[in-house]
Amino acid sequence: MNLYRRELREGRRGLLGWAIGVAAAVLLYMPFYPSVGGPELTQTYIDMFPPELAALFALEGLASGPGYAQSTYFGLLGFLLISIAAIGWGSRAVAGAEDSGTLELTLAHAVTRWQVVLETALALLTRVAALCVVGSVLVWALNGPAQLGIEPTRLLAVTLALFLLTSVTGLAALFGGAVSGRPAVATGLGALVAVAAYVLDAVARLAGAPWLARLSPYHWAYGSDPITAGFDLGGAAALAAAMAALVLLSGWRFSRRDVGTA
């Protein structure tokens, strides 16, 4: 686990920065629920927007505390910030180290290609989990003061969904790097997965095409509304399967290619 420990030690400053960003997102949004959310105010917004836009941004969610936390943080800003952080880590794990030339020396030591993939993936998951915990602990702290009314187990359920979803985007970036060795490909693939997941879900809601949503990891995470309905084991299993597939394919492909010649 030397690579895992070193990855975390080297990345601690970056992790702190992202944690501050996530905390800021929670602290900027949650306290304002009483003044901008609630059933009456929300109806005013919904009437202001064309129905398609209201559906796209899930404005009806603002009517309740959990819905407000979902639409602002878990479904939007938290997803966005943690995905970007995860994609950065995933891209650096193999492609970044390979591109900068440091990976060659690591691989010349008594480590295997699989070990590089598994330990950097684990370091990525650890950091994503840390960010998700920071965000949700703050949501929990503001639950009472901001009258959000989120059930504790439901908060756990939505935190798990956020963790799995953002891990998929980060591991997609790691996979892109493990296959190509190029940071641009890695970042691009991670971003593509994140954007496609969000857009597919939104378009499916707009177009009323539930089959389309089934292709979206965003829908696997949030489709059953875990912040009000609790754990969705099917969705979590789909996300976990995607994560496992990405890690396995990364290790398999990375073990079979030349390093440093991209």
Binding site: N2, L3, R6, R9, E10, R13, S100, G101, T102, E104, L105, T106, L107, A108, H109, A110, V111, T112, Q115, D258, V259, G260, T261
Partner: protein, 302 residues
């Protein structure tokens, strides 16, 4: 098993480019073997193949009795490697980075890192990101030597080192040889490794074009001579009569002649020819092997 490194028809192609074309080579245990060649000759390709960083297109390699691919991490634990393009990054100090590599190699005897660092004049407390090229090279050397591997694979180990540190490096190589370690190293010029190497191979465009003891290659070495000589008739004729002179240029100015030439072969004759004139300045340096010389080697071989 007395062979440390063996290559049989080892070939690496990238699309239409051939980086290494059927290398056959044997390095014995306990030997110091030098690979010489200009940039792009395939030296780095050979070394990366031996460490399983890249995989051969054809042919095979055996390192300490194992195929690099099958030997895996257990095999690489027995090797110390210095990459040709050494990149070190991070917010850690040189000492922390070296301890990290030491843990990857399964541990380093206490005091070894400090000992080698001191010999090379490396400050372990400095942050690696802020080290000069020469100091990074020293970090690379320490990590290659510190776990006393059976085989050292060093790609251009002397690059970026000042002459004094180069001498200390050569003494590290001699110590390694005395302990029975095998050293496989490369350079673009013979002069930087000739004191250390037992045998030398010349690599050019992916082919091994010459193999022999250091003395044999030294005799055929290319030297570039630059000199300033007092103007005197017969200078050009005298130089040309030596034969094996190429690229002769004489520029006369204020009664002095600035001359440059490339020379190969018996140095004694060159010195004695020059001694007939009044020499005001003299500079003799080794030349990176030129294509013309390489063609000559080829013709000799065939």
């Amino acid at each position: 098993m007395d062979t440390a490194v063996q290559a049989l028809g080892l070939t690496k192609r990238y699309g239409a480019t051939t980086a290494l074309a059927g290398l056959d080579l044997e390095v014995q245990r306990g030997e110091v073997f030098g690979l010489i060649g200009p940039n792009g000759a395939g030296k780095t390709t050979v070394m990366r193949l031996l460490l399983d960083i890249i995989r051969p297109t054809a042919g095979s390699a055996t390192v300490l009795g194992h195929d690099p691919r099958e030997g895996g991490s257990a095999l690489r634990r027995r090797i110390g490697y210095l990459p040709g393009e050494l990149r070190l990054e991070g917010r850690t100090t040189a000492g922390e980075l070296l301890r990290h590599f030491g843990r990857l190699s399964g541990g380093v005897a206490k005091g070894t890192i400090e000992g080698i660092a001191e010999r090379l004049g490396l400050d372990l407390a400095r942050h690696v990101g802020k080290l000069s090229k020469g100091n990074k090279q020293k970090v690379g050397l320490v990590q290659a030597f510190m776990h006393e591997p059976e085989l050292l694979i060093l790609d251009e180990p002397t690059s970026g080192l000042d002459p004094l540190v180069q001498q200390e490096f050569l003494s590290l190589v001699r110590d390694a040889k005395a302990r029975g370690q095998t050293v496989f190293l490369s350079s673009h010029v013979l002069s930087e490794i000739e004191q250390a190497a037992d045998r030398v191979g010349v690599l050019h465009r992916g082919e091994l074009i010459r193999l022999g003891g250091v003395e044999e290659l030294r005799a055929g070495r290319q030297r570039r001579l630059r000199a300033t000589v007092r103007s005197q008739p017969g200078l050009r004729a005298a130089l040309e009569s030596m034969g094996r002179v190429r690229g002769l240029s004489l520029v006369e100015r204020d009664g002095e002649v600035a001359l440059t030439l490339s020379f190969e072969g018996d140095l004694d004759m060159l010195v004695k020819t020059l001694a007939r004139f009044e020499v005001l300045d003299l500079l003799l340096e080794e030349q990176v092997l030129e294509d013309a010389v390489i063609d000559m080697y080829r013709n000799e071989a065939s």
